[in-house]
């Protein structure tokens, strides 16, 4: 089971190449409503494909529709969020009917959480499966981190996995085991690219559109570019604004965003994700855009202003010296925040995420690196969970130090 921030992916090995997917959300119906009383068998929380059937009004979207994971984390005291996660676990276990009297003794469940999940999330999730074991559906459970699962799914035993999502990013070295002590977390993700896009829209006269989050995200994906060298890219774009002109038409409307002479700003969107330290961003901070700051959550400090190159170096240099060259030779990028396109006309000025990471490392004297995107970004975590569950010996027991092994229930 892969508990992503947006989607819950699940299924046994019989699913083949791809898991089943539902939104990682739950709906708490109004028990006083006529609709709820008419369907008396409705559960306390609805998950999966049935959620849209229960949505009644826009008010429901804010008060009753719960997305439990915020940047891969669940607050310890957020009982509703934990109820949604519990319901999703049951939904996953019940989605594959079992033939009666065929010797089925329960699933060995492999769940996957963010690399920065604090210990209480492990404890809570394991307790949920312990309760589920009473139904006979669960024989044993284990939890692995999402970067570890990515490395397993990708088939590389020594590597650095960089997972970057909406709210944060994690740099995780792996050498047959995750090297937990060398993990580096960044308080920066796709949401920060949305923030700078919003500021750019305000500066260029589209302040009313800048308030709509989903529109801002679509504009980011449409016009945002990652520069190889920001100063060079800005100079090129200012010198040739027609070539680099950034336009976005909102489908189904007459609204069209055109940055015109300010189209050079499109390079700020990508640069900000990878390196927010350029002086050009200071003017945005002075005008009120929040500067990414260091935040401590549980045992993990999320660094705000560390660029990706420095973050990778800081992480790798916490590992044994003999291992470091091998780690630099296998850097895997995972997560939607690394999905940057490079239009053919801009090649050489705009780059993709692997090229940008290599450039950041090269500027710091690290050469002989190999950086790749994961081959199956949407499913690599689930692939890794399936392989892990298939290969781990039955007698390898759960260990709280190593955070690996089977926690078994019952006989």
């Amino acid at each position: 089971m892969d508990f992503g921030t947006s989607d819950f992916k699940f299924g046994p090995i019989t699913c083949g190449e791809n898991p089943r997917i539902v939104n990682n959300r739950g709906y708490f119906p109004d028990k006083k409503s006529l609709v709820y009383r008419a369907f008396e068998s409705a559960a306390d929380v609805i998950v999966g494909d049935e959620v849209p059937l229960y949505l009644q009004s826009n008010e429901d979207l804010t008060s009753r529709l719960i997305h439990p994971m915020k940047n891969g984390m669940i607050e310890k005291a957020d009982d509703n969020a934990w109820k949604v996660v519990g319901a999703l676990c049951q939904y996953g276990l019940n989605s594959f009917p079992i033939t009666a009297n065929n010797g089925f003794q329960g699933y060995n469940v492999v769940a996957s959480l963010s690399a920065v999940s604090p210990r209480y999330m492990y404890e809570r999730l394991l307790d949920m499966f312990k309760e589920a074991s009473s139904s006979g559906k669960v024989r044993a459970v284990t939890i692995i981190t999402q970067p570890f699962a990515v490395a397993i799914g990708h088939g590389v035993t020594t590597c650095v996995v960089i997972e970057s999502g909406h709210g944060n990013s994690q740099v995780c070295p792996i050498s047959k085991y995750p090297i937990h002590s060398a993990q580096v977390a960044l308080n920066r993700g796709g949401g920060d690219a949305n923030a700078i896009t919003s500021e750019i829209l305000k500066d260029t006269g589209y302040g009313d559109l800048a308030r709509e989050e989903s529109l801002v995200r679509r504009v980011k994906e449409s016009i945002g570019l990652v520069p190889d060298e920001l100063d060079v890219a800005i100079a090129e774009a200012k010198h040739n604004p027609r070539k680099f002109r950034a336009k976005h038409k909102v489908p189904g409307t007459r609204v069209e965003i055109d940055l015109d002479q300010d189209s050079w700003c499109r390079f700020l969107i990508g640069e900000y994700v990878f390196n927010p330290n350029h002086e050009v961003f200071e003017s945005y901070f002075k005008r009120g855009m929040p500067r990414p700051r260091d935040v401590r959550v549980g045992d993990t400090t999320f660094r705000g202003m560390l660029d990706f190159g420095e973050a990778i170096i800081a992480s790798v240099e916490k590992c044994p010296v003999e291992l470091q060259p091998m780690l630099y030779r296998e850097i895997l990028l995972s997560g939607g925040n690394f999905n940057w396109q490079v239009p053919q006309a801009f090649q050489g000025v705009a780059v993709d995420a692997p090229t940008k990471i290599k450039s950041l490392l090269r500027n710091r004297g690290i050469r002989n690196v190999s950086v790749k995107m994961t081959t199956s970004p949407q499913f690599s975590v689930w692939h890794g969970c399936i392989i892990y569950g298939f290969a781990i010996p039955e007698d390898y027991e759960w260990d709280w130090q190593r955070l690996e092994g089977w926690m078994k229930f019952g006989a």
């Binding site: 019989t14 699913c15 083949g16 088939g155 047959k176 090297i179 916490k318 291992l323 390898y396």
Partner: protein, 211 residues
């Protein structure tokens, strides 16, 4: 063969041919050997080490199992492949260049400064790890051959299809039907070195590599 003599080999199931200029070592696997994992691993390890002694290594396997062998893995390890049946023996892959002469042609100059030695040591260790990874991939490949042999020769063992008969996913996808019919594992299993690494969890102390 002209100019070739057979040298006594201390290992059963192997042949050693010697000529004036080279030595050829053939490790022969029978269908029953394929089922014994240690026999396969033992043969591969011996053949790998022989490359560095100036010997041309071959592994000989029954033709019926040749389709399951990954020729790229054997080529990258410099091990040749012979396949045989009741009628003939065929050389499918030639062994790679002999390693011993390459090492002899590049003597390392004596240098009192420690740094070049440390750098070279790190490089050698890196090559060793790469060789170990190649070995792991080959072991995974032969493990899949073992599973295949078990399913075809010992019907009393639980095959993958029998195991998944206990589940009845509905509706069934094409992939699910393939698995139920004892078909191949999903593509992300193929040549995945983690299968071997994870199967040893709790049995080796290789966790010292990690922090």
């Amino acid at each position: 063969m002209d100019g070739l003599s057979i040298e006594q080999s201390s290992n059963p199931g192997s042949l050693c041919f010697v000529s004036s200029s080279e030595r050829t070592y053939v490790s022969i696997l029978t269908p029953s050997d394929i089922i014994q994992r240690n026999r396969v691993i033992d043969a591969l390890l011996r053949l790998s080490s022989l490359r560095f002694e100036g010997t041309q290594p071959y592994i000989a396997a029954p033709r019926i199992l040749s389709a399951a062998l990954d020729s790229q893995t054997l080529r990258s390890s410099g091990i040749g492949l012979l396949v045989y049946d009741e009628r003939r023996i065929e050389e499918v892959i030639k062994p790679g260049p002999i390693q011993a002469s390459n090492i002899q042609q590049k003597p390392t100059p004596v240098n009192t400064d420690n740094q070049p030695l440390l750098t070279e040591l790190a490089e050698l260790k890196s090559r060793y790890f790469e060789l170990e990874q190649n070995m792991t991939r080959m072991m995974v490949e032969f493990k899949s051959i073992q599973l295949h042999a078990l399913n075809s020769t010992q019907p009393s063992h639980t095959s993958l299809s029998e195991h998944f008969d206990t589940l009845q996913p509905s509706p069934m996808t094409c992939d699910q039907r393939k698995l139920q019919e004892g078909g191949p594992l999903p593509s992300f299993f193929v040549n995945n070195p983690w299968l071997d690494v994870l199967s040893k969890r709790g049995k080796t102390e290789d966790h010292l590599i990690a922090g």
